[in-house]
Amino acid sequence: MTTISMTVNGKAVSGEVEGRTLLSSFLREGLGLRGTHIGCETTQCGACAVHLDGQLVKSCSVLAMDAAGASVTSIEGMANGDGSLSVIQAAFQEHHGLQCGFCTPGMVMATAALLKVNAKPTETEVRHYLEGNMCRCTGYHNIVKAVMAASGQDVSAIAAE
């Protein structure tokens, strides 16, 4: 076991890990941050997405030791300082961009990463950017709508209630 330190959601943390401990396991088991979900083991589904030094990564495919010293943001760090929903989170609620909630943390992290590099993405750009995040419930309609709404675009013309 080795002790590693990193910054998670703005707080300095440390914990013991093995070589094989994944960043996702360190967050979930080591730090109790269970909002980061595991939906596959092939780097496909995106439920485990977090930001590592500001970049979107799949935490199930990063070793905890490789992230030592880095700054990590997980879903638990995405709400506003007063605990209220951030603009992205609020847009997902407002537009029904989630059902069972399992893929949701990854979707929120991917959306935040997208809007950092593309402030007003088109529908096509949103769909393309989310290709690494699977959702089985929503058919993506309301996710795409929520992402566009979170970017400040008027989505009232997009169909549905």
Partner: protein, 262 residues
């Protein structure tokens, strides 16, 4: 996965030293290796992370062409090669998904040489040179069949140098599940001729389509390959496409790559 000793050197020299131990394996972006280890299909005793080796990162233009550090992520290549080698940048920007592109590296992709990976087609079509800690390997010598390369035990790719074509483009047809290339074609037009490399299609891994190269060298237009026939022999036949289908894709994607080349 099986446990291992984790080492994170900060220089190529230290990485080479760490790789000398028995059962050592280089870890680059880990987007393929870690899933393989989770499935317990690989079990290195020592994992040598290259993510901390600064000298292996970055994209820069030199006398021999565009040099890309082996530990450079797809996202970085997509951004930094945009002006100098758009065909390569576009290829990098279509690998995996945004999160994978932030971790996966060109060196990792080439070392693994998955028959459906994108990068091998660019390296082969551009006639790039693979630099390792030991030597320089020409692309035509580097790829030796699926998951097989010229790399020796303990040898680490440090960078890849791409002669920049006058015109180039990569066109990929996605395997619908993995989003790897069901077939992908990279077309590179140089002053002295055209090179065409195909990934995803063949049981022998990435290959050059010589007939198309000849036809396109004579006339760089999509129509130039219209009369060519691609044999389905040796093409991959699987759940996602028959050998005949892949043979068709080789031709269709080559035409599209020629049209898209800039």
């Amino acid at each position: 996965m099986h446990n291992f000793e984790f080492v994170k050197p900060s220089t190529v020299a230290d990485a080479v030293k760490a790789m000398a131990g028995s059962g050592a394996q280089a870890l680059s972006g880990g987007q393929t290796l870690l899933p393989t280890m989770k499935a317990r299909l690989a079990a290195p005793a020592v994992l040598v992370s290259l993510t901390g080796v600064a000298e292996m990162k970055g994209v820069c233009m030199g006398d021999d062409g565009l040099s890309v550090g082996a530990a450079t992520t797809h996202a970085t290549v997509a951004a930094e090669a945009r002006k100098s080698f758009a065909g390569l940048a576009n290829l990098a920007n279509g690998i995996g998904d945004p999160a994978v592109r932030n971790r996966g590296t060109i060196g990792g992709s080439l070392a693994n040489n998955d028959p459906a990976a994108c990068y091998p087609s660019a390296v082969l079509a551009a006639g790039a040179t693979v630099h390792t800690n030991m030597r320089k390997i020409a692309a035509d010598d580097y790829f030796q069949g699926m998951f097989t390369t010229a790399l020796k035990e303990g040898e680490i790719i440090t960078s890849v140098t791409f002669p920049v074509p006058h015109k180039s483009a990569y066109v990929k047809f996605n395997q619908p599940a993995s989003r790897f290339a069901l077939t992908g074609v990279f077309v590179a037009k140089f002053a002295n001729g055209v090179r065409v490399a195909v990934t995803g299609a063949s049981n022998n891994g990435v290959f050059r389509w010589k007939e198309a190269e000849a036809a396109l060298s004579a006339n760089f237009a999509a129509g130039a390959v219209a009369g060519l026939v691609v044999s389905p022999k040796d093409m991959i036949n699987d759940l996602h496409g028959t050998a005949a289908y892949r043979a068709n894709l080789v031709k269709v994607l080559t035409k599209r790559a020629v049209d898209a080349a800039s």
